[in-house]
């Protein structure tokens, strides 16, 4: 069970990475459970940035649509991979 504090910290840490990874014309609703619609190039950039920023490694099973559907899903995946939360 993910701690709400850890999740909250991870969501906050995720924001600047999302901002750097997304194309300028991609606008995402700013809510943890809002569905995101990423492009393939954004997924590639985001995975690489998350690995670099949080010192984790995404396996092929981690790079799946359900793990990138919302901010919360990404944050939970990062925590599951052992990323330090904040």
């Amino acid at each position: 069970m993910t701690s709400p504090t850890a999740l909250s910290a991870m969501l906050a840490a995720l924001e600047p990475v999302l901002a750097a990874a997304l194309e300028p014309d991609t606008v995402l609703p700013d809510a943890p459970d809002a569905l995101m619609d990423l492009r393939s190039i954004e997924v590639v950039t985001l995975v690489d940035l998350l690995e670099a920023e949080f010192d984790v490694v995404f396996g092929s099973d981690d790079v799946r649509p359900e793990h990138f559907a919302t901010r919360r899903a990404i944050a939970e995946r990062l925590l599951a991979l052992g990323a330090p939360c904040g």
Binding site: A20, S40, V44, T45, D48, L49, E51, E53
Partner: protein
Amino acid sequence: MTAGLVELLSPRFTLHMGEHALGLDAIARHARETTLPANIAGRVVTTPARDPFEALRYIEACIQADALPVPSALCSTPAVLDERFTAIAGDVLVLRTSGSTGAPRHAVFHRDALARSAALIAADLALQPDDVVGLVLPCDHGFGLVGQLLAAAMVGARVQWAPGAFAQQRIAALAAGGATVLAAVPFGLAQLLAALPGCASLPPLRQVGVAGGALPRGLAEAALRTFPRVELVHQYGCTEAGPRLTSISSRNPAFWTGSVGRALPGVSIAVLDPDDAGEGELTFASPSAMTRYLEGAVESAQAGTPSASGRWLRTGDRGSVTADGLVFVTGRTDDVVKLRGEKVSLASVARATEEAGAEDAIACCLPSESSDPDGILAVLYAGDVSLSPRDLARSLPRGVVVKRLRHVSQLPRTLSGKVDRVAAAQLLTRTADDHPAYRP
């Protein structure tokens, strides 16, 4: 009126995008209805689209308007634009390419060169009207646009666009569409292979083309283990070439020597200033090559006598050609690396790091500890600033990220005062715990 591009393509060609099946008539109709945005000089301002329908519509509309598409990024100086970037009749496409200095350049293509190039590639790949070409590449690069979309359209093959954001989605779309032919950059192929175990069904592939970077032997072997009946085709070229220069099949024993194959029909390849081992810069002449750069005249490669194929152009790649014509690419003549199919200038990455606040920086490409065939981009920097990979993301080509960014009190230097690239790479390879120069 100039004949349109669609008039050169097979009337059988159909483009499948989701629920839509589009033929040439739809593309031509939409092109006629398209009002291309004009810049101040009255010329077209747009960029080639990643979406295949938009890309075809765009090229056709440019032919009908007899206007050259000029990337909007170049339009900040309209007076210069008006003077220097006047369209020449028949030039219909501009593709962006990373220059060896990191400053992008824009290669201009004539309609006939595009058609020649697409026909040449279709013949080399033996594309057939009953093939289903699975398109996962963006169409703002020569590989996807000419090497797949137009090549398929030339022979009347069906194109199945499979643009999913995730490899699993792309595989599902390829399988549903019955793709028999696929092409990818090495990283994209590695992604697809890694995602296959979780997929319910696989496309009935007969051929996979790979270009846009070195094809590691391990990746080729993995692809053939997964698809034992597939023919792998390693293709080599560059944007300016239109884009293909050589090709080799995995069924050719020379494929496993690391050669990128022999020059395609009509293409000439020569080595400029070869050393004792026969290595030098690879130059080429091809009837499919670009007309010019938007930014100015094309520098002549001066590689011996002019070829029947036209001017000699530089590739920036280092390599050799054997007596029987096999081409080997061994690296670059500059500090450009290929990542995710994009050329990335290490000097420009270092500059971007300095612009972000570092006093001094050097960029390297290191072997990846994972299965990433491209290696990883790494930067060592000094200065009173703490930088993060996300600080540099906007300065790099799409999809390219600095995976390792490390701070040192000062960059290692040789006795002559130059930054010591070997020592820098060693520092970047070590972990922070290994070396006292790192400042956490």
